[in-house]
């Protein structure tokens, strides 16, 4: 694949997150597993998305995890849920990528084959001795998604396990063990509007096997996947250098970051699985689709200060807008 092709492909598969010129928080969930058209292409036909960046992003995850193993967390009571998540992800992969992925039952064990990585393995469900790594570590080494598992008890959801290497300005290691409502405590404006309570109620009512999805977005400098709180010293200054740097560079340095989140009720453990897949598109590519450039400008222009602050984009949105004004089909 030539670079031009992969650029075109990245644009065509990008989940552009703005249906209108104004963005506010909402409980924007919809059934998963169907493809959504954009003006540039489409996205979302599968729950797990394997694309041209598979090997690069997997390697990046491995590097981050080796440097900071705390990116994987599994409270002891979540061990069954982690196995359940692994098997469900394997089943989903085998279903969505039958040419390269296989899951089959072999007596008391399971047979797993991933041709993309040349993996062939037999394991017994629940028996850690038969797996080369913890279940979440094993399966997250074979997908590009981050995974969080929520336990449901006492009428609440708790973020008790997961593997997150590509967090946008948060830290799973810090949040693990917190309730869903606590995790979302700092999000501005959502309390008065009841959005999180509604989302929480919705998740608790998900039935086994059901899957839904939503999108979220922010801006990221230099296309870094890992902008978690832990590594802030490494990437925090990028926002300043972008804001202070030449306007010309903004188109290539500033990225629109969309997270596609799948919400799946695991059938065996009853846990709710969040799959978080991160897509990054530089402003230059966003602006190459005229409708997107204009819309992104309008959304950034309209976004209230508290929301920009929470998303960590108060420094970068100005330069982003200025760049879009010159290159982005924006009519004032």
């Amino acid at each position: 694949m030539t670079t031009t092709d992969s650029r075109a492909d990245r644009i065509a598969r990008f989940p552009f997150p703005f249906p209108r010129d104004q963005y506010r928080y909402s409980t924007n969930v919809e059934p998963a597993g169907h493809s959504t058209d954009t003006v540039a292409g489409s996205w979302g036909d599968t729950r797990i998305a394997i694309d041209a960046h598979y090997h690069r992003e997997r390697a990046e995850r491995e590097r981050i995890l080796a440097e900071d193993p705390s990116r994987h967390q599994c409270l002891p009571h979540m061990v069954p849920a982690a196995w359940d998540a692994m098997l469900t992800l394997m089943r989903t992969l085998a279903d969505e990528y039958p040419d390269t992925m296989t899951l089959a039952r072999r007596g008391v064990g399971w047979y797993w084959k991933n041709d993309l990585l040349g993996i062939e393995h037999t394991f017994v469900f629940g028996d850690l001795d038969t797996l080369p790594a913890q279940p979440l570590v094993y399966i997250c080494g074979q997908i590009q998604e981050d995974v969080v598992l929520l336990d449901q008890r006492e009428g609440e959801l708790w973020g008790d396990a997961g593997l997150v290497t590509f967090a946008a300005d948060w830290s799973f290691g810090f949040d693990v063990g917190m309730s869903f409502l606590e995790i979302h405590g700092p999000v501005p404006r959502i309390h008065s509007e009841n959005i999180i309570t509604r989302a929480h109620n919705f998740l608790m009512r998900l039935e086994p096997g059901q899957s839904y999805r939503r999108t979220n977005w922010t801006l990221t400098v230099d296309g870094k996947l890992d902008t978690s709180t832990e590594t802030y010293p490494e990437w925090g200054k990028d926002r300043r250098t972008l804001a202070d740097g030449p306007l010309d560079e903004v188109g290539d340095r500033l990225f629109l970051r969309t997270e596609v989140q799948h919400l799946i009720r695991l059938a065996h453990s009853g846990a709710v699985m969040f799959l978080i897949r991160t897509y990054l598109l530089p402003f230059r590519d966003v602006a190459s689709v005229p409708e997107w450039g204009e819309r992104l400008y309008r959304v950034l222009e309209d976004l209230p200060v508290d929301m920009a602050e929470y998303k960590g984009i108060s420094r970068t949105r100005e330069p982003g807008m200025r760049w879009l004004l010159t290159h982005g089909n924006v009519e004032l």
Binding site: V29, V79, P80, S211
Partner: protein, 324 residues
């Protein structure tokens, strides 16, 4: 039957078609039925304590706990007590023969083990043993700490041998409410912190266990009992929606949502979740009483009766007038 490949499929309405693989009497009045996919494919996994809802006549359903293995199993097993005073569902089950096809829901969980519990105290009464059996299987698989008290009348201990073989000295059996009280009350008074108690059985027994636990100082959140009937929304009664602007009348049959009925008529209503949470499908109502079933509108908005979420909510009477 949805195929094994659809383990995480988002299909809400899609139930299962299953064939009766085996049917036998476990003890007087209790019949065990083994159900399988007609093509032999694996069935959807389920949480311990789950049940399936069996459709036994037009619009008639009964729920039964699954007793067998739970990870992509090759069969579902239920055990059903004949209820002479019931509406006929258990009689219908007792008449099933191998080879027959039935319609059932996918498994739903209303009685899952609490994963953070330090210890599980499982109390089964009579046919209430069925979900307890699947709890015991899971507890053994994951090495969870548990004890079982099984109360049944002489000759009527369904699954008693199987359970005894699984539990060993972790199970005791009793045969009267008095005996149950004698064994259970001291046990409730002397449990490690972080124990959860689960009861499945006749309503008086569930109430008694809850009362004893309360008297022993147990917080209510640690006491669980099986409540069938929790699950998706009921089908609801049929009604008609009048579109105020065009005067068109749209009938909404039982089991069809107002949203579906409108969409079927080509009337465009934006929608997303179809679960009453996203707020996308909100409609203004001009007249008629609404049966609100959504999680989106506030209590005040519901009381005002001026808008509704047609993906889940219905008319409380036979007619609604919409601002459409």
């Amino acid at each position: 039957m949805t195929t094994a490949l659809e383990t995480v499929a988002g299909e809400i309405t899609g139930g299962l078609t299953l064939t009766v693989r085996e049917a036998r009497l476990l003890c007087p009045g209790i019949r065990h039925i083994v159900l399988a996919d007609p093509a032999g494919r694996p069935l959807p996994s389920f949480t311990p304590g789950s049940h399936i809802t069996v459709n036994w006549a037009e619009g008639r359903h009964n729920s039964y706990s699954l007793t067998g293995p739970s990870i992509e199993p090759d069969h579902y097993a239920i055990s059903v007590r004949l209820d002479e005073n019931g509406r006929g569902g258990s009689r219908w089950i007792h008449d099933l023969q191998p080879g027959q096809m039935i319609r059932a829901s996918r498994p739903r969980s209303a009685f899952a083990p609490v994963l953070t519990a330090r210890h599980h105290l499982l109390i089964a009464g009579g046919i209430g043993v069925t979900p307890i059996l699947s709890h015991v299987r899971a507890a053994l698989e994951w090495g969870r700490s548990f004890d079982v008290i099984y109360s049944f009348r002489e000759q009527c201990g369904a699954h008693a041998d199987e359970l005894a073989a699984l539990c060993g000295d972790r199970m005791i059996t009793v045969s009267t409410p008095g005996e149950l009280a004698d064994r259970l009350i001291p046990a409730l008074a002397d449990q490690p912190l972080g124990t959860h108690v689960y009861t499945c059985g006749p309503a008086p027994m569930i109430a008694a266990v809850a009362a004893w636990a309360r008297d022993c100082g147990w917080p209510p959140g640690r006491v669980h009992s099986e409540a069938f009937g929790a699950g998706p929304l009921a089908d609801g009664a049929p009604f008609a929606a009048k579109l105020g602007r065009s005067g068109m009348i749209v009938p909404v049959p039982s089991g069809t949502s107002l949203l579906e009925a409108l969409l079927d008529r080509g009337i465009k209503v934006p929608n997303l979740c179809r679960q009453g949470v996203c707020g996308e499908c909100r409609l203004s109502v001009r007249g008629g009483e609404i049966e609100h079933r959504d999680l989106f509108l506030t209590a005040e908005e519901k009381a005002a009766g001026e808008s509704m979420m047609p993906c889940v909510s219905r008319s409380a009477g036979d007619r609604l007038e919409l601002d459409l």
